[in-house]
């Protein structure tokens, strides 16, 4: 099976499951959960690009997820309050006035644009600052994680304008649609599923482009790329910004789907959880991050229902097993078996398929 057939086949199956099977079989409650997982999977798609293809261990995607989520939440709060109105929590904690930087988000168009542009812009500035100084590997990971921690602390500290630990919640409507209506909940699910598939397609295009090849080259031999006349910092920043944009869109859809965005969704722990799903699914593959993120979230929910305190151990064990035995993730199980079959005689050769093909011609 060629990779092309595998991809389109996989995408067709995913689309059939997401748009046909899931809505037909799942209860509204489960479907809403699946919508939430789709939002988390959007972050995973971006991580797959930045980490799997670009080699950047992005441990702080919660920041961009949170930016998107909070921008959306601010808009929902303002539109619930009506024209010129003040969100309820501000009356409770604050002085009953809407701060100036909240005002632009009354406008739905500004909100959507901000979700698409603002986090990507932050990532671009951050990426250029960090990558130009050749910060990478563990140092970059620590830095991005510290950023997630700082962001969460900032949100908690500014209770008057961010809702503090409680976050922003209690949304009534989503761009004019009542959120308590199950039909609108379904619509949200379809939006989330559709956006997720679009993102997968986008990443597929990026991976197949010249830029995608260059990104892999930067991951494997950053210096060599530099001596070919490219600036690796720019190459990495582009992927980082795309990942940030995806995370922000995920956050923005997460907010109405779940009905709350709080510092607990954006800090260090959720940032790591995003990464775990990607690692388990297969970071360098296209569908691995999506399946990993959805699979891990689904397992978390269902296991937590039956064994409330067991999940964290299970997650740890799964992570260790996958990293130890399938370092490239569950998505590479197929490859693993294909390789087994292809090399019964010579288990040492690392890339036997092409080598076997040509070794007959050699000499």
């Amino acid at each position: 099976m060629s990779p092309r057939v595998r991809f389109w086949g996989g995408l067709a199956i995913a689309a059939a499951l997401l748009f046909g099977v899931a809505p037909a079989l799942l209860s509204d409650f489960r479907l809403n959960l699946l919508a939430k997982f789709c939002c988390l999977a959007m972050v995973a798609v971006g991580i797959g690009l930045a980490w799997g293809r670009g080699g950047m261990l992005v441990l702080g995607q919660g920041v961009f997820f949170g930016l998107g989520g909070y921008i959306m939440a601010m808009h929902l709060k303002l539109s619930d309050a009506g024209p010129g109105g003040v969100p309820d929590f501000m009356l409770l904690y604050g002085d009953g006035t809407v701060p100036g930087w909240w005002e632009p988000f009354r406008d739905p168009v500004v909100t959507v644009l901000a979700i698409l542009v603002l986090p990507a812009l932050v990532a671009t500035l951050l990426g250029l600052a960090v990558f130009k100084r050749r910060v990478r590997g563990a140092y970059f990971a620590i830095l991005s994680q510290a950023l997630a921690a700082a962001f969460a602390i900032l949100l908690v500290g500014q209770q008057k304008v961010t809702g503090g630990t409680n976050g922003l919640n209690g949304f009534q409507s989503f761009f004019g649609f009542t959120l308590s209506d199950p039909v609108n909940k379904r619509m949200l699910y379809f939006i989330a599923a559709g956006v997720l598939l679009l993102m997968v397609l986008t990443v597929r295009l990026i991976m197949g482009s010249r830029y995608g090849e260059l990104l892999v080259a930067v991951r494997d031999q950053e210096n060599r790329v530099r001596f070919l006349g490219y600036d690796p910092a720019v190459v990495k920043t582009v992927a980082y910004a795309v990942a940030a944009c995806f995370a922000a869109i995920g956050g923005a859809l997460f907010t109405p789907v779940v009905g709350i965005i709080s510092p607990a969704d954006v800090g260090v722990v959720p940032s790591i959880a995003f990464l775990v799903g990607v690692a388990i699914g297969g970071r360098a593959t296209l569908l691995g991050p999506v399946l990993g993120a959805i699979g891990v979230s689904w397992a978390e929910t269902s296991l937590s229902e039956s064994f409330p305190s067991f999940w964290i151990y299970f997650q740890g064990a799964l992570f260790i097993l996958v990293v130890a035995f399938l370092p490239n993730g569950l998505a590479t199980v197929g490859r693993f078996f294909r390789r087994r079959r292809a090399e019964p005689a010579d288990p040492v050769a690392p890339e036997p398929e092409p080598a076997l093909e040509t070794s007959g011609k050699a000499s």
Partner: protein
């Protein structure tokens, strides 16, 4: 020669270098290269107080095939690193009238300087074609970068033939034999349109026949462009160098043709002082 490893891995396929194809790559107007020369003045590189290069002057003109030799730690690779912006340098390095000291590596590369490394560093997971395509593309516009590659650029096609890897085009570069990786790197320098080629031990690990082919290839490239080779293999040097610079403890010890350098008593002393018979170079120098 005995200490040099012969080709460890068999070559993939039956490729060999194709000098005729080289003509297509480098056929472009020679006038472009007329005023290219490398001029290094008072180059100093200091790492944490250790003086790796102590005031080197070096001039390599277009059409020269210059070999840099010297005992380990003489500063050969450090000079290449300094030129390409990898090591902190003071002094002046000019190529084609452009000052290179202080420029970041990718800007040095865009000024027409290309280099290889001691260990072949190709992009193992990408195919041979992708490797060359990336090397050709640092001046591409963003719009073009975001598209899928359609067809094979002419320069890449010609470079594939030059380095004898047309048949291995779609193989991942990681499976190539060591010598083929080195050739691929030279091919990458050609499509990158490097006018100054800095090659760090390009024939290490190659068989005798491969060395011969590589030498011929370098000679033809060197006739047009400026080529500097760091090499330990004295037989290779004697066959192909048009001029030699001998470095010792970060300074230039001797410079001239192979014969002149071999006759220089200072060179003889340095090499004999390091233990006769320990390296292939000893015999040549004595």
């Amino acid at each position: 020669m005995s200490e040099m490893p012969t080709t460890a891995a068999p070559l993939i396929g039956e490729g060999s270098l194709d000098p005729d194809a080289l003509e297509q790559v480098i056929a472009a107007d020679d006038a472009r290269f007329k005023h290219d020369y490398l001029e290094i003045r008072d180059l100093r590189v200091v790492f944490d107080g250790f003086v790796a290069v102590a005031g080197v002057d070096l001039t390599v003109t277009q059409g020269d095939l210059r070999f840099l030799i010297g005992p380990n730690g003489a500063g050969k690779t450090t000079i290449v690193d300094a030129i390409t912006g990898l090591a902190p340098a003071t002094g002046s390095i000019r190529f084609g009238g452009v000052e290179l000291v202080g420029k970041p590596s990718h800007k040095v590369a865009r000024a027409g300087v290309g280099r290889t490394f001691q260990t072949a560093s190709v992009f193992d997971e990408l195919t041979v074609l992708q490797n060359l395509d990336i090397a050709a593309g640092s001046r591409r516009k963003a719009r073009l970068m975001l598209r899928r590659r359609k067809g094979i650029p002419e320069a890449v096609e010609a470079a594939l033939e030059t380095v004898g890897l047309t048949h291995a085009r779609d193989l991942p570069a990681g499976v190539l034999a060591h010598g083929q990786k080195q050739w691929l790197e030279i091919g990458m320098l050609l499509v990158q349109d490097a006018r100054l080629l800095l090659l760090d031990e390009p024939v290490a690990g190659m068989s005798q026949a491969e060395r011969e082919e590589t030498g011929q290839l370098l000679r033809r490239i060197g006739a047009q462009r400026t080529v500097v080779v760091v090499e330990h293999d004295m037989e290779f040097l004697r066959s192909f160098a048009s001029s030699v610079t001998v470095l010792h403890q970060g300074s230039v010890l001797s410079e001239g043709t192979v014969a002149q350098v071999q006759a220089d008593p200072k060179v003889v002393e340095v090499y004999l002082g390091r233990g006769a018979g320990a390296r292939g170079s000893t015999k040549e120098a004595s």
